[in-house]
Symmetry: C2
Subunit: 117 residues, 2 copies
């Protein structure tokens, strides 16, 4: 029999999870994802929509494609990117809700503190 609660979770698994989170830990990439919610776009359209440079975008798009978040379809000279895994939005939503809850709770606590004096 082993210890009570936790399974040891191999480091490679943790590394994979950490890397996925790292991909989502950049405002620029979240903004790209937000743009792509309305459908596939090519790089030029994304430069206009986000204001980021073409080189910068290209790098971010590659990173997210390698992470399995986006998929790439070359069409003529241009490359269209689209969301490959809609679950990212669920993740963002969960995080966003959590942040909202926390802020509301902090507001309540602060208000109680003000009432104390």
């Amino acid at each position: 029999m082993s210890e009570p609660g936790f399974s040891p979770l191999p480091p490679e698994v943790l590394a994979s999870i950490a890397e996925y989170f790292k991909v989502l830990s950049e405002v620029s990439r979240l903004q790209i994802l937000n743009c792509l919610r309305s459908g596939p776009m090519n790089v030029m359209e994304l430069t206009e929509a986000t204001g980021y440079s073409q080189a910068n975008l290209s790098k971010h798009l590659k990173i997210m494609t390698q992470a399995g978040i986006l998929s790439r379809q070359p069409r003529g000279v241009s490359a269209y990117y689209e969301i490959a895994d809609p679950k990212v939005f669920q993740l963002c939503h969960t995080v966003c809700d959590g942040i909202g809850d926390r802020l509301r709770q902090q507001a309540r606590q602060f208000q109680a503190f003000q009432g104390d004096r």
Copy 2:
């Protein structure tokens, strides 16, 4: 009437979300979270359980506490940390499942490619 699909999402919101993901994008922190699944622990217990240095742990614990993921209770000379928001595990699970699905799909595609020759 505005554009079709996407609401613009204020940059501060994206920044908050990105920062939360960044907290989870480190193997050491995920390992700490995994340890704390079995219940609250103090810093010394965590140094033994994870092998990380005390100073390093203290820094990571502070980061996760500020992010609302952990909570801290000083008790005597020591400080006990515990999971404040169990939803992190749901997030990790979602990511982990996604990675698994993707690997299985790649394996299938590779097998099909091998069959082709």
